[in-house]
Homo-oligomer: 304 residues x 2
């Protein structure tokens, strides 16, 4: 899991390496996310030295009191109007640069999730879930939007392998708003030929076997068999699934959407679960927040 | 070119039909667009009988005086501010339900096209080119957006074949905002497994050979050879290219992005150029305008 980033920067074609080939290089999300956080720390220090007293700020709005969030605003909001009011007040607050609303919304009254995610100002939507940011990403305006954190983290991990994306055949399994759909967009606009597979795809093993780059965000434990994986492929596993395991004190363990042990024998590069995509998601949320703060400063230099 | 729609409604699998197989059924855009226009005429009559005096209205804003537009507003606007002002005034006009801005913008001063297309109210954006409509389409909210006219017309033509899209492998060539990218979205959310190819795809013949449904919007004359086409595939050609032809009085003729004569020998269904996708685009613009008018009436029944 803690394979060094120097290793994973190994350049070269991702072709078959013969029958005696070595196992895949593990792409460590723990290491890569640490690199990202260090880079961000430097950028924030630079901002603070240029603009005394300035600091990037993120607000996490949680509706209800679900305890599966460890972030810092927890409030018991009961209706859409109340949530919208909170969002508007953060939208208008010039000292806040990022706003995310924890999903799913935990409310005694049903709330339209679309309405809520689209109420967040596009300039502060560091989750990249609003229609406007999704529209820009899907049509290739990558420099002018916020990219959802999980696929953004996947791209960072792919970059770490040194394998170039342009001209490759990428396969994405899943088409969710937070993983599959934006992952497709990112790979496409980094000039891969991209195939999106999903629950209605009848020939998943065959589709997967053609992937130079495979990103799986299906939410089904170990559904991708290592036998399907193309020799030398880059395999990025976004799954976080709990399966029973009597050998653990908790009675369960976490696995990805890819059968890791078998896939590792064919892939050129592979992310582990845990310690792969997971740590990257939080790092990229920080990156988007810092980026938002930088854009704010660029627009408002005279006001600071 | 004028093959009957009854023919093209032929149901059945699009598999190989042996060495003595017949030529592809031609999907007529002329016939299909006529059906759409007749349906719309009925819907407009229904609206007008329910809401006396009401009529769906579309404004086409043309910047400059390019003569390749035959639509009804032509004005010599010279700067972005002027264009934006015109857009705002149409946005606020309750008797207009659709607004499109003719692209490319023909102005003596360079104008940011994104700025202009995104100034159109999402509720009147019947071209479906604003970020908000693109974001909804790309993330699967098809019922709550306007779908760009060319890919919407392609879907209508595919429907005419009787071939179901769900579970099929669709290949889209091109990733433009008005054809390729939204076509991908429409096929994906109609549950095809979708591969997007483009100028950086190194193995186009191989990708095309796997397509049960092929939509080409590349803008290159006859670039897709019939030899690449899978037996029985549905082939939709969005290309409109002028090539020299000394046998014509004009010295040129119009061809698509697909080599029609050879593709017709392998495909199960194929659109001609001209008379295929072209006539559908205008019909779908009318459809979007009628849809917009219907949504307006639904929201404003009491005001009418």
């Amino acid at each position: 899991m803690l394979s060094s980033v120097t290793h994973s920067l190994r350049l070269g074609a991702s072709g078959c390496q013969g029958s005696m080939r070595s196992m895949a290089t593990v792409i460590s999300g723990n290491k890569t996310s640490k690199l990202v956080r260090e880079r961000l720390k430097n950028e924030v220090e630079k901002m603070r030295s240029q603009f005394s007293g300035f600091r990037p700020s993120l607000v996490v709005l949680q509706v209800g009191d679900r305890d599966d969030s460890n972030l810092y605003i927890s409030t018991k909001l009961k209706a859409a109007a109340e949530v919208l009011h909170s969002i508007m007040s953060v939208n208008e607050n010039l000292s806040v640069h990022g706003l995310i609303v924890q999903l799913p919304l935990d409310s005694v009254n049903p709330i339209n999730t679309e309405l809520i995610t689209n109420a967040v100002s596009p300039d502060k939507d560091v989750d990249g879930l609003s229609c406007i940011n999704a529209g820009k990403l899907s049509r290739g305006d990558l420099g002018d939007c916020f990219i959802p954190c999980t696929p953004n983290g996947c791209m960072e991990l792919i970059r770490q392998t040194g394998v170039s994306v342009a001209g490759k055949h990428a396969v994405v399994i899943g088409r969710s708003k937070i993983v599959g759909a934006p992952m497709h967009d990112l790979l496409l606009w980094n000039h891969a030929t991209v195939t999106t597979c999903h629950s209605k795809t009848p020939d998943l093993p065959e589709q997967v076997s053609r992937a130079d780059i495979l990103v799986v965000g299906a939410g089904r434990a170990e559904m991708v068999s290592g036998q399907w994986v193309k020799d030398g492929a880059v395999v990025i596993d976004c799954g976080i699934n709990h399966v029973p395991d009597e050998t653990k004190a908790s009675g369960k363990r976490v696995v990805g959407d890819v059968h890791y042990a078998s896939a590792k024998q064919r892939a050129g590069f592979i992310t582990p679960v845990p310690g792969g995509v997971g740590p990257m998601t939080v790092a990229m949320l920080m990156e988007n927040t810092v980026q938002s703060a930088q854009r704010f400063l660029l627009k408002n230099q005279s006001r600071w």
